[in-house]
Amino acid sequence: MFAAWRKRWRWSLAAVLLAVGMLVPFDWFLGQYTHLGIMIGLFTMVVVGLCLLMGYTGQVSLGHAAFYGVGMYVSAILSTRYEVNPWLAMLVAALLTAAMALALGPIFRLRGNYLALATLAVGFIIWKVAELQSSYTGGPDGMTGVPYLSVGGFEFDSSFRRYYLIWGFCLAILLISQNIVNSRTGRALRAIHGSEAAAESLGINVSRFKIKIFVLSAVYASLAGSLFAHHAIHVSPGSFHPLVSIDLVVMAVVGGLASIWGALFGTGTMHILNDEILIHYGKWNMVISGLILIIILIFTPQGLFVALKEAYLRDGVWFLPKWFQGKWRDASSWVLLRRERWRGHVGADGGVRDP
């Protein structure tokens, strides 16, 4: 009975979050957070793809912002310079990104650090190309006048409307990804992460699955990029600078790499932290953000969302105070141990010595 109640509690939490989320763009509620909400939605789409690729399949990508950039620019160029319907532009951008990711497939022969470096290089190359091909992309200044998306006569010309559009896409991608993870395909991906040799021995075509999930995550990023172009109207290479790729990985790690809803949580946490809270600390914001990140990684290496979820499943509704108490205990015993070690009462092996 308790379990059923907990499950119901989870659904009611989801309902409350959804209700609050729906209200965000209303001026009489939190109107000023519409832009923040849109950016969280867009980045969540990219981060979910990264979670599938990194957390579930175990393949690193430090260049994912590039696909966001491709989606953004292809959408912008087609719909502005060639007056293609924005929806069609978005579709073409997604297909082109998929083709690019497919062509990049051979880099998945690399593993671990080498793969990380190769994907980082991909990010740099695509970013630099966008900056250099200024006759198409407008160079470092970017280009402006990208049309809004519209359905029939209904144009998404206010951020209020685009908020719902973008979150519609985002939720669809979250659900699709959740379905994939808990399927035959998802098990194959996780198997590759667990042991490539064993996955292969069970009839799983390892390289094919790696490339497929890479393509899918690139398409997610491309869609987010296109939506951004048709939302912001102005695009420039700055929005997919290679450093953005690193931010994306940070968001994925903070939420929990091997967790779909963690992507949403991590993206939300990092955006709220950086854009709403730390922005008031002036030049020190990066430093504080970095320190917070280190603390999160030390105390919840599996990700904040995953840690909180586990605590909730273990301790029920009042998990938060218990969780903080536990973490506080861990931290203080760590400090105590250091102190005793420093005083010489505890050896390097953790054994107690005679005072």
Binding site: I176, N179, I180, S183, R184, T185, G186, R187, A188, R190, A191, H193, G194, S195, A197, A198, A199, E200, S201, L202, G203, I204, N205, V206, K212, L216, A258
Partner: protein
């Protein structure tokens, strides 16, 4: 009467200048438990890797059910019915016990990304079947009660049984077990022998590499002995045990009149 399911003809594999497997001919008969033994470094695991496709032979031909498979990838061979377990178990630590076995059903199911993403009827139907099949094999190795645990939370003995269940879930023709008894206690070894006999009763051909001689001699119906990459003897266990070359390989090279 007897039918050969796997045949190796003059198979060699060189690593640099070293011939790890040197012109091995062997035939595995359908429905029999065959053991491959030999001192350390004899090439037993390399032979497994050649049969399952991890390595390609540098010379010779491997035929499975009458067809040459020497150039196929490991996953293609698994689809044709050759499956293996590993010395180091290699369970998927990011999954539950049940999910590990469900992963084994991969080559015997077919729905893909799209069906999974949209949860189409085909996906649901197959998923139900996959679940049933996985539970069947979990129960067969006696791990039904641990289905929801994390795979790596099991003790080593049960981890090895889980790896076997996972391999069986691929519905193989031939199963290769790489040192299934290593690290097990006497009771667990008895259970393992019993399980291997039950696998044979399913009509699956079993080949095992094993160091534990009592286990091999009690279980195998045919024993193949490798030494330094070459096959030096084969036959029923009782005969192989008496073979002078085998004794020499295990105890040291003193064939022609000792000191």
């Amino acid at each position: 009467m007897s039918e050969v399911v796997l045949e190796l003809k003059g198979v060699s594999r060189a690593f640099g200048g070293l011939l790890a497997v040197d012109g091995v001919d062997l035939e595995i008969e359908r429905g029999r438990i065959t053991a491959i033994i030999g001192p350390n470094g004899a090439g037993k695991t390399t032979l497994f890797n050649l049969i399952t496709g991890v390595y390609r032979p540098t010379a010779g031909d491997i035929r499975f059910q009458g067809k040459s498979i020497g150039s196929l990838s490991p996953d293609a061979r698994a689809k044709r019915g050759i499956v293996r377990t590993f010395q180091h178990v290699y369970l998927f630590g990011n999954m539950s016990v049940l999910e590990n076995v469900m992963t084994g059903v991969h080559p015997r199911s077919s729905y893909g990304f799209l069906e999974a993403a949209l949860r189409l009827p085909k996906a649901r139907r197959e998923e139900e079947e996959i679940h049933l099949r996985a539970m069947k094999y979990l129960n067969m190795v006696g791990l039904g009660a641990q289905a929801q645990q994390n795979a790596l939370s099991l003790p080593l003995g049960q981890q090895k049984l889980l790896a076997i269940a996972r391999a069986l879930a691929t519905d193989p023709v031939l199963i290769l077990l790489d040192e299934p008894g290593a690290g097990l206690n006497r009771l667990e070894k008895a259970e393992l022998s019993d399980l291997i006999r039950r696998i044979r009763e399913l009509g699956i051909t079993v080949v095992l590499v094993e160091h534990d001689m009592p286990l091999v001699m009690g279980l195998a119906e045919w024993v193949i002995v490798l030494d330094a990459g070459k096959k030096i003897a084969e036959g029923p266990p009782a005969e192989v045990q008496k073979d002078r070359k085998v004794i020499a390989a295990y105890l040291g090279e003193e064939e022609e009149g000792g000191p």
